[in-house]
Symmetry: C2
Subunit: 338 residues, 2 copies
């Protein structure tokens, strides 16, 4: 038999409600009974059944997080930051990995709703995600992370500005002949980075030749294709990768081919993953403030949870966080005469 609040009450010689009051400080309990209850709890190794409590209280103190993948450094970091923030506030995180499967994404949201989580945080995979539509039919608040949706609560990076930062840095160093490794331009975040980058370059009067732009997946492997740019005439003096992993791939290729970074070619990434800091030279990059994003998302969600009524008729807010440029060793002014 399970040990319940009733068994504790019986052993302590009081009513279950008294035990409950003792546990929750919801009513004063005389020192004598307090001690009895304490002893009974210890003797039976009683632990309150949070599921039952949730049923009664209509709040589970749990939050679901849906991410496309956990091995991508950025997502893994976000998940960690969010777990930490939630834990601090007494919330348990239910992690769902969608594996970029739209069907699965939706079922996971439905499941979380069925489990009566108090709220949901979601990095949806792409614009077509059915889960986004589906999420409107559930009763708990939902905050979209990293990838905003018009008309919904969200917390994300200002990707356009990030692209501008990158452009400004390279242009400021004197680069005029610049390449671009563009990972998955159909993801809005990436598109915005590119747009910001191009817009800013245009402001400097710099035009990126279309054959200096490579498209591919956001994987290390794609970065290896930088070798194609090295054959161009004139060779670009700097390259912006829309993603650190891609930048690392490029970096590896350059080293292998005997090019020196940054003397022969400057390289600039986006994300600020841990590895980049340890390359030699370390990678200059536009840092996604993953800590700030995760914490802000949790803060916003908990607000929605706690002041539910008040927020019902407010138009959802979209929090945009500015990335910052981390200047490290992989970028420098172009060599003389170029």
């Amino acid at each position: 038999m399970e040990v319940t609040i009733r068994s504790v009450a019986k052993l302590a010689g009081v009513a279950p409600s008294t035990v409950s009051h003792y546990l929750n400080h919801s009513a004063p309990v005389s020192p004598g009974t307090a001690q009895n209850v304490e002893r009974a709890i210890a003797a039976l190794n009683y632990r309150v059944n949070l599921g039952a409590r949730s049923l009664r209280l209509r709040t589970t103190h749990s939050v679901g997080l849906v991410i496309p993948n956990n091995t991508t450094p950025f997502f893994g970091e976000i998940a960690q930051v969010i777990e930490n923030a939630l834990w601090d506030k007494g919330y348990q995180m239910l992690l769902c990995i969608s594996e970029r499967d739209l069907e699965r994404e939706t079922v996971q949201v439905a499941n979380l709703a069925g489990r009566q989580v108090d709220g949901i945080l979601m990095i949806y995979h792409c614009e077509q995600s059915k889960a986004v539509q589906f999420s409107k039919g559930i009763s708990m608040p939902i905050v979209f992370v990293d990838r905003p949706i018009p008309g919904e609560y969200s917390v994300a990076t200002d990707n356009f500005y990030g692209g501008q930062l990158a452009a400004r840095h390279l242009a400021g160093l004197g680069h005029r002949c610049i390449g671009l490794l563009c990972g998955e331009a159909d993801i809005r975040n990436v598109a915005e980075r590119v747009e910001g980058f191009m817009t800013e370059l245009r402001r400097w009067g710099i035009k990126v030749r279309s054959d200096y732009v490579l498209d591919g997946y956001q994987e290390l492997q794609f970065g290896l294709r930088i070798s194609e740019l090295l054959k161009k005439e004139p060779r670009p003096t700097a390259v912006f990768a829309t993603n650190d992993i891609v930048a690392v791939g490029a970096w590896l290729t350059l080293l292998e081919k005997g090019f020196r970074v940054p003397q022969d070619l400057s390289i600039l990434g986006f994300d600020d993953i841990e590895l980049g800091r340890f390359l030699i030279p370390p990678l200059t990059t536009v840092g996604q403030p993953s800590r700030e994003i995760g914490e802000k998302a949790v803060e916003l969600l908990l607000q929605l949870i706690n002041e539910k009524e008040r927020f019902v008729n407010k138009t959802p807010t979209s929090v945009i966080i500015s990335p910052t440029l981390h200047v490290r060793g992989s970028t420098a002014a172009p060599a003389e005469g170029r």
Copy 2:
């Protein structure tokens, strides 16, 4: 008001129990009522409250996973594999990140127990973890992952054998002068790798000079200290790092100092993280079968959950999975004359 099985029943003009039977196929329902119920469910957008169901059924179909950290590639991968395996079986994963905090680890296990998870998977941080002791007081089965405990159920890599594989490979190539980058030797897993490595080398009649052994943390930064080994006379022709991240650190340093891998120095890691496959040359490594470990752990745990009674008196089994050597480009025979 929440939409419950009762509201559905009322709208469909039947008893709540009938709706339940319809949902769970626990009793035949006539086609007519079935349709009515279906319609009512759709009309009200009803979704069964899994919390309430759990309370009644005494099973939550959820499992807790405790890991020290989610950004370490190996842990992140394990978490992902486990989530996938659990999801396939209809279980929800509750993720707890202990941040290597022994206190927190314990509280997390207690919390999971309170939430009535059906079982717990745990990568504890170190031998002193109080959580290990604590876990004996809870009622649900627990399987230790990656780091076994005598007398408890566990699934882990055969680290000793992994060390042997590494040694055999290097010795077989002809290396006689071998260095060792040893990350956190007080973690048993690491100690076993080293032991297997040394044992096998001894069998080949090779002794590792004590000043060829460096100790440090399992971080990329530690790998940078390989430069200390490069000054030794004679210089080692190969280095084994007990961890891929450390190996990558070493690899970066070698490249930066102008040493060629593997011509000047062979380098061998442990874990098989994704990044290693993309170095140029790619990293030879002893692969931790993270997929197999995760899946096996889930399989074992679900067995314990489902056949609980039967297992009660069995002595816990400790599953050991053999790692495999992935020979890639970073190792080769030593240069002539050395």
